[in-house]
Symmetry: C2
């Protein structure tokens, strides 16, 4: 009997859905637009259809153990999505309960970056690690912290919002309403904002002077930097400097074995890793210097979201996560 | 049979020693100067004499369960004091092993602020809390983080150095060799440095203009503030602002139920708590606003160090701490 889990990643644009074995084999995957489902009940109906269909496709040698969901503003303790700014479903959505009532299989839900951390621990580079940090770099900056072999969920289940630590007290406006948050500097959007800032500040010639704010992408900045465009390189250096400095702060709290970077910006390789490492070491308290590894995530990018969500199921079953409880 | 633990707190100036019951009753306590013991072996000899003496004093209804030690740069995994700048014993001192070999009773050792966190959880205001932060404000700023009911020790046993996160990137020189560390602003010394800075920057009249740098104490600043000295009040406000901002950063990582302040500065009451709370809320990511309690430690100040160290023994015995292991 092979045990399987369903992993579901809910993003602002699309939902990724897959059936995953305990060893990390993705047996089946598909994706569909999030915005097709105005009401969460329609979404739950569709999901339960897909799950029934997946079950039909399994032979008797397979058993579905549970469903894991990664979602923005996901709360593990309550199985809810709470006030997610990028989703149509407003307020507090008890998605795990709604789905569980339909399909009668255990459903676990947490925020997407926390799911990525569990995925890294289950299928990626953090196997056997008990203390590490996961940083996901997309349009924003997500994070998951693992200490003593357990995901830090916090008192209310919302721990791991490192993207909203403050870098500059009167800095860039953030979508959260605050100013100077880390993700306004370190993310695909942050990199773009830095390029625009440098275009105004420096006189360096750059191919990026031909693009409007709305037309610049992090891929274009990456290509420009790889072609030797100094302004693009400077933008990556600034981004890595800010990230390195703030990681040194995080290191003082959890003293991790390693920090994993995942997502678009992490794919820029040396352009982002070198300044991040350099400044993390420069700002590290002496007792931590040269001890903390900085790695690229080992999760395959296309399947990472599904694997992370599915890993919630194995993690819960192996009880390495804190006992599920309402405080 | 009543179980007892010995708690030992090693400071730069004095060693506090006490015998504590499981319920937190201090049966016996004494202190002696740290500097009397040039060599750690002399210190271990003296400690084992004191412990033998304490045991002689116990009647047959008492049983000594273990010895807990809080020390600067203490490492729980290894039971060592490593490169403590304020102690005469240089390098890596395997104090737990040295003492254990002499007395044949379990010996646990960690850094002083981590011991304070365990003390707060065992005897103080954090009973039944699974997620909280302990901040100790003395000449420096120490910290202990508890998540999922366990002290965060980190990969190498040195987690919890929040005093060395960076506030200003080119800020005040810190004893650790870095610049702009939190404890150069938020500590008894930090408060004094802020007063001196304000004396140079502002033209406000103040009684503190009559004191030299070396003669100003945090007690004098407190008294001046209580007497309405605006410059002293401004110094407290600035200190609380910096602490509040950085606590908001820490909240994003661990999402605590409460934060406890302990030590000299914490005794300044509203002078420090009001600005700290105000700015913590101002900088909190919206999801955490008005959720995190800010408390004064409930440990009795005179016995806190002994209670915290002794609590290591009960904590280890009840297995609420991570399994002791070398990574």
């Amino acid at each position: 009997m092979q045990k399987l889990a369903i992993g579901i990643d809910i993003g602002g644009t699309s939902v990724k859905y897959g059936v995953v074995s305990e060893s990390g084999e993705v047996k089946l995957k598909e994706s569909f637009p999030t915005k097709d489902y105005e009401k969460v009940h329609d979404f739950v109906d569709y999901l339960s259809e897909r799950i029934a269909h997946s079950l039909d496709g399994l032979n008797s040698e397979h058993e579905l153990t549970g469903v894991g969901i990664g979602a923005p503003n996901g709360n593990f303790y309550r199985g809810t999505i709470e006030h997610a700014p990028n989703l149509k479903w407003k307020g507090i959505i008890p998605l795990a309960d709604l789905l569980n009532k339909k399909i009668n299989i255990p459903v676990y839900l947490t925020n997407d970056a926390n799911a990525a951390a569990i995925g890294e621990m289950t299928y990626g580079g953090a196997k056997n690690m008990k203390n590490f940090i996961m940083i996901t770099l997309g349009t924003g900056l997500g994070s998951g912290f693992v200490a003593n072999g357990q995901l830090i969920l916090g008192h209310d289940g919302f721990a791991g919002e490192f993207g909203h630590t403050t870098v500059f007290h009167d800095g860039r406006e953030c979508g959260c309403g605050k100013k100077g948050c880390l993700e306004t500097y370190v993310s695909a959007t942050g990199l773009k904002r830095t390029v625009i800032k440098l275009l105004s500040k420096a006189k360096t010639d750059s191919i990026l002077r031909d693009y409007s704010y709305n037309n610049i992408t992090s891929e274009q900045i990456y290509k420009a930097a790889m072609n030797g465009d100094q302004l693009a390189i400077d933008a990556f250096n600034f981004t890595g400097k800010i990230l390195g400095m703030k990681l040194a702060d995080a290191v003082t709290i959890v003293s991790p074995e390693a920090i994993f970077l995942f997502g678009g910006l992490a794919n820029a390789g040396k352009l982002i890793f070198e300044p991040t490492k350099k400044y993390m070491e420069e700002y590290n308290f002496p007792i931590y210097k040269d001890k903390v590894k900085l790695f690229s995530s080992l999760l395959p990018e296309n399947d990472a979201a599904i694997l992370g969500a599915a890993a919630l199921v194995w993690n819960e079953n192996s009880r390495t996560i804190v006992d599920k409880q309402l405080h």
